[in-house]
C-alpha cells in the first residue's frame, strides 16, 4: 500500500529521470515478490514454477529499465 501510494505521488508530481524509473521498477519487483511468495503462496514451493514467476518480476522490470536507460543516453 505504501509502495503504491509512493508510486502515485511520483505520478502526481510528474517526476521523471533514470533514478525515478529505477525506484518505480524496484517497487514493482518488491510488490511482485510479495504477491508471489505470500498471496499465491509460492515461498516454499521449490523449482521451476516459483523461479518462472520470480523471473517475471525481476527480468521484465530489468528489461524495461534497460530500455529507458538506452533511451536516456
Amino acid at each position: 500500500m505504501v509502495l503504491t501510494l509512493t508510486t502515485a505521488y511520483i505520478g502526481y508530481l510528474e517526476l521523471s529521470g533514470l533514478y525515478i524509473v529505477g525506484f518505480l521498477l524496484l517497487t514493482v519487483t518488491v510488490k511482485g515478490q510479495l504477491v508471489i511468495d505470500h498471496y499465491i503462496g509460492l515461498k516454499n514451493v521449490r523449482g521451476f514454477w516459483r523461479l518462472a514467476m520470480l523471473g517475471f518480476v525481476y527480468v521484465i522490470p530489468g528489461i524495461i529499465f534497460t530500455g529507458y536507460y538506452l533511451t536516456s543516453v
Binding site: 503504491t4 508471489i36 499465491i40 503462496g41 516454499n44 528489461i63 530500455g67 533511451t71
Partner: protein
C-alpha cells in the same frame, strides 16, 4: 569420533532436508500452464511497448500525462486488496471455515467490481474525447494493454463467482478445495500483471 558426535552429524542433514521440503503447487497444474502463457504474452507486450516508446519518447511522455492516474491508483489499491481477500479466503478454507471463505470471496468480488467500474469510468473519458486505437501509437498501446488486462479481470470475476456459488453448495471443504486454489492463483496473476502495467503505462516517463 564419539558415538554421540556421529549421531549428531548424521541427524544434521535430516534437519536441513526437512527445512527445504517442497510444498505442493497451489491449484491445478493446468492453470499454471495458462498463467505462464498469459505472463509470457504480457511480458512480450511490455517489452514491445518499451521498444516502440524508445522511438517515440516525446509522444509517449506527452500523451501519458493525459491519462487518469488517480483511476489507476485506485485500481491498483483495489486489485491488491482483492488479492489479499482471496489469499485470506484460502487460509480460511484450509481451516474449514466455509462461511468466512465465502464472505472473503464476496469482498474480493466487490473489489473486482470497483476495478471494473473505475475502468469503465476511465474509458468513458478516453472514448468520449474521441480517442480510439488508431489515434496515435501511445493510445494504441494504452487501449490494447489495459483492455486486454480488463478482459482478464472480467474472466477472473467469472471464475471467482463460480467458485463462490459452488462453495455455497457445500462442494468444498478443508480437505478438498483445489478449485478455490486454482481460481485464486489466476486472480493473483491478474493482480501481478497490473502491478507491472500500471507504473509502466501511467507513471514511468
Amino acid at each position: 569420533m564419539s558415538q554421540s558426535a556421529m549421531s549428531e552429524s548424521a541427524a544434521q542433514p535430516i534437519i536441513e532436508k526437512k527445512s527445504i521440503e517442497k510444498e505442493p503447487l497451489p491449484g491445478d497444474l493446468a492453470i499454471w500452464f495458462v498463467i505462464m502463457a498469459e505472463m509470457l504474452v504480457f511480458g512480450v507486450f511490455f517489452i514491445v511497448y518499451v521498444v516502440v516508446r524508445s522511438n517515440n519518447v516525446e509522444l509517449f511522455n506527452e500523451y501519458q500525462l493525459e491519462l487518469h492516474r488517480i483511476g489507476g491508483v485506485i485500481n491498483t489499491i483495489v486489485l491488491i486488496t482483492s488479492s489479499y481477500f482471496v489469499a485470506l479466503g484460502i487460509y480460511e478454507i484450509r481451516k474449514g471455515n466455509i462461511q468466512r471463505t465465502g464472505n472473503l470471496l464476496l469482498l474480493a468480488l466487490l473489489m473486482g467490481a470497483i476495478f471494473v467500474g473505475v475502468k469503465i469510468w476511465e474509458y468513458s473519458f478516453v472514448f468520449g474525447a474521441g480517442i480510439h486505437l488508431s489515434t496515435n501509437t501511445f493510445y494504441t498501446f494504452y487501449i490494447s494493454l489495459t483492455f486486454f488486462h480488463f478482459m482478464h479481470v472480467l474472466l477472473g470475476m467469472v471464475i471467482l463467482t463460480i467458485i463462490y456459488i459452488r462453495l455455497r453448495q457445500d462442494k468444498y471443504s478443508a480437505e478438498s478445495h483445489q478449485d478455490i486454489e486454482t481460481g485464486a492463483s489466476y486472480w493473483h496473476m491478474v493482480d501481478l500483471l497490473w502491478i507491472v502495467l500500471f507504473p509502466l503505462v501511467y507513471i514511468i516517463r
